[in-house]
Assembly symmetry: C2
Homo-oligomer: 370 residues x 2
Amino acid sequence: DLVFDPSSHTHRRYNPLIDEYVLVSPHRNKRPWLGQTEPPQQVVLPEFDPACYLCPGNKRAGGQSNPRYTKTFVFENDFSALPSSPIPTAPSVDHPLLRAEPIHGSCDVVVFHPRHDVTLARMSLDGLLNVVEEWKRVYEYRSSKPGIKYVQIFENKGSMMGCSNPHPHSQVWSLSEIPSIAEKELRALTKYSLSEIAHSDSPRPPNGNPCLLCEYAHFEANTENGPRVVAKTNHWIALVPWWAVWPFEVLLLPYRRHICSISELTPEETACFAQILSEVTVRYDNLFSCSFAYSMGIHQSPISSKASGDIDTSIAHLHVHLLPPLLRSASVRKFLVGFELMAEPQRDLTPEQGAARLRECSSTHYLSSI
Amino acid sequence: DLVFDPSSHTHRRYNPLIDEYVLVSPHRNKRPWLGQTEPPQQVVLPEFDPACYLCPGNKRAGGQSNPRYTKTFVFENDFSALPSSPIPTAPSVDHPLLRAEPIHGSCDVVVFHPRHDVTLARMSLDGLLNVVEEWKRVYEYRSSKPGIKYVQIFENKGSMMGCSNPHPHSQVWSLSEIPSIAEKELRALTKYSLSEIAHSDSPRPPNGNPCLLCEYAHFEANTENGPRVVAKTNHWIALVPWWAVWPFEVLLLPYRRHICSISELTPEETACFAQILSEVTVRYDNLFSCSFAYSMGIHQSPISSKASGDIDTSIAHLHVHLLPPLLRSASVRKFLVGFELMAEPQRDLTPEQGAARLRECSSTHYLSSI
Ligand SMILES: O=P(O)(O)O[C@H]1O[C@H](CO)[C@@H](O)[C@H](O)[C@H]1O
Ligand SMILES: O=P(O)(O)O[C@H]1O[C@H](CO)[C@@H](O)[C@H](O)[C@H]1O
């Protein structure tokens, strides 16, 4: 009799965070690749680039000059995607199917380091701690602004991921509505918290209801030789989730207690966040000996006093998604295209295979740190 | 007083087909682009490429030789993502959050034309009609196979969209489950059909309930100077939908009656399908004078006798999505990355602006047809 073997048999996995499936076809990685390859990354960048609008002292598009900052640096994006004040008048509607809603907010840029040529992977733990502290400050500052319901922190790293300037930086888009994907996750967390099932001795939110991510993190952190674990610190775990879509997708989770947002992190939990960021980004670079591209995003609590009535914001469990496109080498990526855009995400190696590859990588960068 | 103007004010639009929003920031297209540009497409291809595994008479990876076909040509993919027979044993589960399900099906390749150097945009209406008829045959053939619940027809066009061979072809993945995105749409169509509201004198399914896409297509087709219409034939309309995400995204819809699948198309409706495909792909190429990349996918009825009990398959309304990445020129694309992957799709020109640009393009190809 044929026994189901997830490492060689095609199957579907369920993603309970967004109520979608992913198709896993492990054998597919063997096919020859004749398609587009990525241009080699510019490896040697200058420490300072006079043409870079993020380097200390340089001029930005809006005409302002950057300060001669020495750690992190925050400013409002000169080409913000969001207007700072609400548009008061409701749009006119031609048909009930054509719904538009005004939205406002702000777009900040958080520069990680004065040097043009570094990345998170090559920064010291102290440097990473500065970044996490800066994210905390921006999250809290933007949360206090009128009408803001959600603060989305994200980084596009590498030109492959649409980043137009290699100077290390992230973005913070604060919005007067909860964005679609965060909202979908919050709905799934709410549904799970109302379920009767509590499967483990895992941590729980103060209200005592089950939390999907508390349980999942606890389960993975306590499985012996956890097959999906990439790295673990005292408070945070890095894993390739059971339902990962991108080849080397990673989820960062605090696993010891229910934590709604970066604001709630203790100093030790904050230091572990910096440490796990280093552990993962270093392994990413080491995997194919290149500056590994990814999009990273922090999901956490909407702003509680203002969020729409039907979402209990304390349901949120802080977590970080890392979505990197490379599949086989520094120049061959996974294309999430036709079938993935029209039907369902599909992956060519199992999450466990992805995790094993990353786990085997050294946590010391193949180039020197800064 | 400030009046809401969707062509200059940032706003959010609702996509009722998948219950998600898109953020529209029309002014954002003005920012300078300093990021990655796409390599120029190889413009002049040979009519026959001895190294191409899709050209007539050549050998494929599996060792078989292609026939010397003269119109279309169908074969099973040598690196199928789906196994042909079900894996009988259910997977063992470590935790209820780790759900896996076996899945089976098949992957076919539908080659459009014997010539290596053509594309849909440069094919005659007769040639396009052959393609549509071939899709019909494959859809019907695969629907008749045991356990198949959904047949996903799609095309990845251009290396930018992960296509590894320029020889014009599409793929057909037939599955024993309804894929996530098709299922999400079917749920939205079901919800709409059960609503009390019927907004227009639009066509309806035989059961008399409202159909979201019948109504939407009817509304757009009957709006004077329809701002989102790209092209219209006697039975099909091409439009940039109100909720479009990709810069020049297009939706093709039959607008005169409720049609569940390509199998139900009359000869005249079939000819109009071929015609609208030509109208849109020619305008795409003319927009930036290049071979325009896109992913295309056909959404239609699941296979009725076998689909899961809770979906009424006659609710489906046949439609085709075209998702092209280019934004500003033949070499500058839109990256749907950080914010889009973590929070919500965001676009830099309004759907009406996109539609106007395409409408103004000639429906005669800037190069000759074949
Ligand atoms: O099947 P192809 O054309 O070799 O491959 C392409 O389409 C597939 C289906 O959308 C994707 O999974 C692959 O990542 C992409 O490269
Ligand atoms: O804001 P940037 O870095 O110029 O732009 C990048 O990130 C944005 C947010 O994910 C995307 O909308 C853009 O398409 C991408 O190029």
